[in-house]
Structures are given as structure tokens and as C-alpha cells.
């Protein structure tokens, strides 16, 4: 686990580490287009593991960070 796990946000506060969810939230999300249920479950462990890592890497305030990413035109 590198230093980036402790990276501070711009307000100088420790980044909030989202708690790993151990309960699957089952709701009325439309089924993803991929039919590959079998393949998905085969690699579920790896994906969960990966998501836990990404939780620690993602910028802390998603809403604000995404909103502030404004580019000028390019080619």
C-alpha cells in the first residue's frame, strides 16, 4: 500500500476512506446488458478486491471533482 493511500485532499484533511461494503445492495437497477453472469461470478472475488483498492484511490469528493473538470475546446 503506497503513500497515495494517505494522500490528503486539497482542504488538507485526511481523505475519507469509504467503508468496504460487505452487503450486496439489491435494488431495481436495470440489469446490465452483459449476459455473462457465470463469468462475472467466477471473478467476483477479484473484482471486490479491486474495488476495495479503487475506493482508496478515488478522489474524495466525487460530485465536486467531476463538476470542476471543465475543459476548453480542442481538436
Amino acid at each position: 500500500m503506497g503513500d497515495w493511500m494517505k494522500e490528503k485532499d486539497m482542504a488538507g484533511q485526511e481523505q475519507q476512506q469509504p467503508q468496504p461494503r460487505d452487503t450486496e445492495v439489491e435494488e431495481e437497477v436495470p440489469a446490465p446488458p452483459e449476459p455473462a453472469e457465470g463469468q462475472a461470478s467466477a471473478s467476483t472475488q477479484g473484482v471486490d478486491d479491486l474495488l476495495d483498492e479503487i475506493d482508496g484511490v478515488l478522489e474524495s469528493n466525487a460530485e465536486e471533482f467531476v463538476r470542476a473538470f471543465v475543459q476548453k475546446g480542442g481538436q
Binding site: 462475472a40 473484482v47 474495488l51 471533482f65 481538436q75
Partner: protein, 557 residues
């Protein structure tokens, strides 16, 4: 022009397959989280400046030089005319150096005084560099852009394009150590998801004798469908992402025309900008603007490799006879369907999927490559066989084993993370965290960039070794004129005052005027042709004297 005929491209490369002079041009998204309103052109100039400082640290005396604008011709149209300057959109005038002085710098950050240690003698910031690897790093509109050196094959295209990401990373690191100004992030993506797009272009050298109409007909169905192997994936539908969802391509929704000169407005599937940057009556440099920027090496490899092969088909007059009904709509319909089942209409009445279209091109390309011998596993050109195999494998996996395809196809790899979040946390497509995953996928910092997190877990396949990419940051390709350009910059930087795709300009003490060495043949200036010259001379004067065939002692001014 089949059966073992020599390519017209300098007579050096085998024709009929995936080898061709080509290059990439990547505009990076740029963002300072601590200063969201900062001027983008200014920040981009800081990126170029920061890299100049990095190279000065790396090689005493520097390893970069200025760009020579003499041969830029952004208003030349491949269809045979030139746009009047007065009618051009200001963003099309790319042949004049932008001027940015210290005052503009200060104003951009709302400060009156600002110490600029990277400032040059004239008081202006360096906006434009030629690198020791033969690439160009510069400010294009409001983005830093890395244009790779010319290479001859798709694996090298991947290496020198990925080297650009390391160049950007080095600049990001340098700026992060600046205590005065806010840190800057770079993103290898193509949209801010708020209606703005910026490009990732490819260029391919072709004989000028190929009629442009053949290129348009042969490429359009291919470009409409190739996104399924090299799209980077995007959260959001429509130019402004007003509709929630996920689509295959970053760029598809920003295209509005079939053919045209513009690259910033009314973007066309086939771009007609005609700046050969080489002997103009022999070559055309096809400028491709429809691609997504790729971090996935396999997607990038296939983007260059398959496109090069389709151009070989067009040159041979053997492109599949297919015409897509309303190509712009078809491009977007395909991008919007991650199940790959959407059928688009051909003018002959057939309805085909993007996979069908890709297989048609694969079949034709495989046949031409076999007939010319370039795809032979042993005696071929050493590249085409691998491209054909990888292309077929990827298409097969997209059809029947998407988990396997997700280790190579960029939009599927990104989708696997997004679906993980959607399932684990029950997120809807308009949730900001999914937008953040999309954005942060492309962050150049390996500790932050989600692509790099997957790569470090070996969940993404590699085409080239990390060591080769690292070497490509400083070393030019050996088999194009980029070798000569790059070695001039790294060996004689204090005497090289400018360079461009087709020239290197020296200012050597003792010569009365600048010496401009033209490099108009892309397959000359190679290591084989000029390597000895570089190893024989440490000083620019004798080097130039031998190169230009004059007496070893330069004339007195």
C-alpha cells in the same frame, strides 16, 4: 499493386500489411483541482515548461528545441483546394506560433508578479518543444499535446505513444513539486462530459496517387465500426452527457459530418487536412481524428495496426465494397450499444452489426496480406501476422468471451469496474462516482489512474515491455527520419535552433547564417543511414560539414 510490389513510401517498407509510416497525436485533458478556474492555455504552457526543466536535468545543456513553423499548412484540403484564412475558424490557424508572455502568465493566475524561472531570453514561455525521442510537445489551443515521432509499425506506435504518457507524467511530477503554483493533473481522455471534446489523432503516410474518394469510401465503414476494439468507453450519452448511460466511444457523439477540413467544429469522420510534412507530390499524410485516446495497449495496437491494413487494402483497390447508410448516425448507434447487437443499414439493403463489418475488413485484409506474403509467420514483414491474429482473437472474444476481451479492449475494461460499482453499491449511471471512475481511469499518475491500477494487477495485457516504453521517452525510433531529428536534438541541442517534421535548423558558430537541413523523406535519416555520422562527431560544426558535404572546417562568417 499487390503481390510483393514495393511500397511507394520511400521503397523501404513491405506493402500489403500493417507496416507504414505513422504517428499519434494526443491532447491531454488538464486540470488543477486546487485552482479550477485557472487558464488552460497557461497551465498547458507550464506543462511544456516543466518538461523542459526535466530534460535539462536529465542532459546538461538540454534535450529539447523549438518548433519550426515553416511547413505547417493547416488550411490545405486533401480534396484539392486551400481555405481562405479569413474564412477559417481561429482554431484552425495552427501555423503561427502562439505568443504568451510573462504578463499573460501572471494575469492568468490573477497575480501581478510571478517569478518564472523557466522563462527564456525573450521573456516568453516555451510553448513548443522537439524532444530527443523525435516527438513534439506543445500547447495546442488549451491542451498540452504530445505528437509521437514517426514509426513504421503498430507495436512501435504503442511504445512511442505510451512514452508520451510518461513525458506528461514527468511534467505532472515536476509541477507537483512547485510550491508556488497549484499542482496540475493530466488525463488521457477526450471529453470533459460537459460538451467539450479534444482529440487524439493518428497520422498515416500514403502515396498521393491514391484518389481521396477511394480513401473516404474504403475507410468510412471501418471507422464507423472500429470503436468496438479501440473505443475507450464513456459514462454519459450526448455531447453534454445529458442522458445517463455508458457508451463505447469517447468521441462518437462529437461527430457531425462525413467528410471535412475542420477538426474543432462540425467534426468529420474523414478529415481532409492535407499537410504532408514530406515531399508533397509523392505523399499524403492522412490525418485521422475519429479515434479515442487509448491507455490499453491492445486497443492502441489494434487501432494503428488494423487501420494501416485497411489503408493497404485501399491502396490495392481491394477494400470491401460496403456503403453505410447515414454513417454519422450509425457511428453513434454502435457507440451507444454495449451489447454489440445493433444492426446498421448498408446501402445495398443488408443490416449488419459492427462485428460483421469488422470481420469483412479482417477477411479482406487477411487475403491481401497472404497474397503479398507479408503475413507469413516466418517470412512475412514481422508485424502483419501478429496484427491479424490479435484482431481475430479480439473480435471472437467480443462475441463470445467478454471477460477475456475485458483484459484488452479498453471500453470493456473500464466497464468492468463501473459494473462492479453498480452491483456492489447499487449506483445509477448518473451517480457522480461513476463519472469519477470514468475520469480517473485516464489520470496519468499510476497511483491514481485506474487503468494503471488494473495494469499493475496484470488485468490488462501488454504489447510492449515497460522498459521499452521507458526507453522510448528518450530514444527515437531507429527506422524513420525521427532518428535524425531526435539525435540532433539530444546531441547538438545548443546548436539546434529549430526543428519540425521535415527540417532541422542549426545555428553553428562560424557559419554566417542558419543551416536548415530538410528531412522530407520519412524513411531516410534512419539509424542505418546516419548513425555513423552521429558516432563520428561530438560537435555540430564538423557534423554539419560532413552531412552537407562541405569542407570539415566551417567557413568564417
Amino acid at each position: 499493386m499487390t503481390a510483393g510490389s514495393e511500397s511507394a513510401l520511400g521503397g523501404g517498407l513491405p506493402a500489403g500489411g500493417a507496416m507504414r509510416v505513422m504517428g499519434s497525436e494526443t491532447e491531454y485533458g488538464i486540470h488543477a483541482p486546487a485552482a479550477p478556474g485557472a487558464n488552460a492555455t497557461m497551465m498547458s504552457a507550464r506543462v511544456v515548461q516543466a518538461y523542459a526543466q526535466v530534460t535539462r536535468l536529465r542532459a546538461a545543456g538540454g534535450a529539447e528545441t523549438r518548433w519550426d513553423y515553416t511547413d505547417e499548412e493547416p488550411l490545405h484540403d486533401a480534396r484539392g483546394w486551400t481555405l481562405e484564412r479569413g474564412q477559417a475558424h481561429p482554431s484552425q490557424l495552427t501555423d503561427q506560433p502562439p505568443v504568451l508572455d510573462a504578463e499573460a502568465v501572471a494575469l492568468a493566475y490573477g497575480r501581478e508578479e510571478l517569478e518564472l524561472d523557466g522563462e527564456d531570453e525573450s521573456g516568453s514561455l516555451l510553448m513548443n518543444m522537439v524532444l530527443g525521442n523525435g516527438a513534439r510537445l506543445y500547447v495546442d489551443h488549451a491542451h498540452p499535446e504530445y505528437s509521437s515521432p514517426e514509426v513504421t509499425n503498430p507495436a512501435a506506435a504503442v511504445a512511442w505513444d505510451a512514452a508520451g504518457d510518461l513525458v506528461g507524467l514527468a511534467a505532472v511530477r515536476r509541477l507537483a513539486s512547485d510550491t508556488e503554483l497549484p499542482a496540475v493533473n493530466l488525463y488521457k481522455n477526450n471529453t470533459d462530459n460537459k460538451s467539450v471534446s479534444y482529440g487524439s489523432h493518428e497520422n498515416y503516410l500514403m502515396p498521393r496517387s491514391v484518389p481521396f474518394g477511394d480513401i473516404v469510401r474504403g475507410l468510412t465503414p471501418f471507422f464507423v465500426s472500429r470503436q468496438i476494439i479501440c473505443g475507450s468507453g464513456r459514462v454519459g450519452m450526448g455531447q453534454d452527457s445529458s442522458r445517463p448511460g455508458y457508451q463505447i466511444s469517447q468521441r462518437a457523439d462529437f461527430f457531425e459530418a462525413e467528410v471535412g477540413l475542420e477538426t474543432t467544429i462540425r467534426r468529420p469522420i474523414i478529415n481532409t487536412r492535407d499537410e504532408p510534412h514530406a515531399t508533397a507530390d509523392k505523399y499524403r499524410r492522412l490525418h485521422v481524428i475519429i479515434g479515442d485516446a487509448n491507455l490499453s495497449q491492445v486497443s492502441n495496437y489494434l487501432k494503428f495496426g488494423t487501420t494501416a491494413m485497411v489503408l493497404s487494402l485501399i491502396e490495392a483497390g481491394l477494400a470491401p465494397r460496403i456503403e453505410v447508410h447515414e454513417p454519422v448516425g450509425a457511428l453513434q448507434a454502435i457507440s451507444h450499444d454495449t451489447t454489440l447487437t445493433t444492426r446498421i443499414r448498408l446501402l445495398d439493403g443488408r443490416r449488419v452489426t459492427a462485428l460483421d463489418l469488422q470481420w469483412m475488413y479482417h477477411e479482406a485484409a487477411a487475403k491481401l496480406a497472404q497474397d503479398t506474403g507479408v503475413s507469413d509467420a516466418v517470412d512475412g514483414d514481422g508485424h502483419t501476422h501478429a496484427v491479424l491474429e490479435r484482431w481475430a482473437t479480439t473480435l471472437t472474444q467480443l462475441d463470445s468471451d467478454r471477460a477475456a476481451a475485458a483484459t484488452s479492449v479498453e471500453w470493456l475494461a473500464k466497464l468492468s469496474i463501473l459494473e462492479g460499482y453498480r452491483q456492489r453499491d447499487g449506483l445509477q449511471w448518473d451517480d457522480a462516482r461513476l463519472g469519477l471512475v470514468d475520469l480517473q481511469w485516464a489520470d496519468l499518475r499510476p497511483e491514481k489512474g485506474l487503468y494503471y491500477r488494473l495494469l499493475s494487477r496484470n488485468r490488462m495485457q501488454r504489447i510492449v515491455d515497460d522498459a521499452d516504453i521507458a526507453a522510448a521517452v528518450t530514444e527515437p525510433p531507429s527506422d524513420t527520419r525521427a532518428y535524425f531529428r531526435g539525435r540532433c536534438v539530444s546531441s547538438f541541442s545548443k546548436d539546434v535552433v529549430g526543428a519540425s517534421w521535415d527540417s532541422v535548423i542549426f545555428d553553428v558558430p562560424g557559419y554566417g547564417r542558419l543551416q536548415r537541413v530538410p528531412t522530407r523523406e520519412p524513411l531516410r535519416g534512419t539509424k542505418a543511414l546516419t548513425g555513423g555520422l552521429f558516432s563520428r562527431h561530438r560537435e555540430a560544426g564538423p557534423f554539419l560539414a560532413e552531412l552537407l558535404g562541405s569542407a570539415p572546417a566551417p567557413p568564417q562568417a
